[in-house]
Symmetry: C2
Subunit: 168 residues, 2 copies
Amino acid sequence: MSLRHAVLGILAQKPVTGFELLSEFDISRSVIWPAPQNEVYRVLRVLKQEGLAREVARGARGSRTYAITDAGREALRAWLMAPSDYSLRYEPMLKAVFLSEVGGEDRRERAKADLAFFEEQLAILKIRGEAVQRSPDAPGKRVDAWRMAISFYQAMAEWARAAAAGDR
Amino acid sequence: MSLRHAVLGILAQKPVTGFELLSEFDISRSVIWPAPQNEVYRVLRVLKQEGLAREVARGARGSRTYAITDAGREALRAWLMAPSDYSLRYEPMLKAVFLSEVGGEDRRERAKADLAFFEEQLAILKIRGEAVQRSPDAPGKRVDAWRMAISFYQAMAEWARAAAAGDR
DNA sequence: ATATCACATGTGACTGATCACATGTCGAGG
DNA sequence: CCTCGACATGTGATCAGTCACATGTGATAT
């Protein structure tokens, strides 16, 4: 997995410029990790070179609009259906592994900070969810990601609530 | 976040050799991602050089046992309590974002494959959980990680079950 | 004796991610 | 007219992670 796939996926929905791509990453930061700005442009160039995307237009301020090619669509589909890499890199989970190394007070503090974030994400996702419901076939109706993210943050919040309360 | 912290955390529980560290990573692969073999040895050398770990013994077959130093403990604690990086890199979630790009049949197939994995992990975690319950203060009583992982995989399985059944 | 396997550590090359910095354009408002 | 902020793309250095490969030891069984 890498940025490549995320970029290819967004490209599959509509042609975009690097700049627009960046804001896509920013908007969906609850689900997709934040992309380093320069890497997006590099990925776009590589994708083009590999024939998975092509440059379809030049706009103002030197902007380049990229679109997915047939080969790109095929590559995306192949990746989606290929066996997944289930390895999880999530800092809060890694911290949980070693949380026994700090005292009870610190542990609760850690869990509280986590809980605040998880609840914030849930609130954001719920607001976005209403928009999804209103327009069922909206641009990129990402129902699966939305549901998975809701499930995920609910699970995380559940853990954090118990730990913040001091449950052992 | 990086391997550094995972290695430091394990070191905080007991002195280990690189080889033992590798098997730790292997054992807890439901929670910590698999560590590339050579990287573990590199991290150990770096940690030593930075004064966060020290070499405490040489054993058979050139094995080197490392232990955490006071500075290492302090660094671990600082990391644990520092604001977390909540960005999530998880291939199944990224795939979910773009799952609308494939047909209903493919989507169910994808979800089924995921479900099988999530349920397997839950089974593994439950078996390990019984051991945790029996020895409440066992070596590295990682209750937090265990609970978080259970919550996590239950959430994932819940999503996958719905998607595999074809829910829209 | 010696073959084999588990133990144990390492190097070199490469790729992808990240950081810091650099450059230029277009439109709106003072 | 000029400044400022949003738009838009890029380079170079560095680092962590990954892949492929290399090397050697000690115990055990045949």
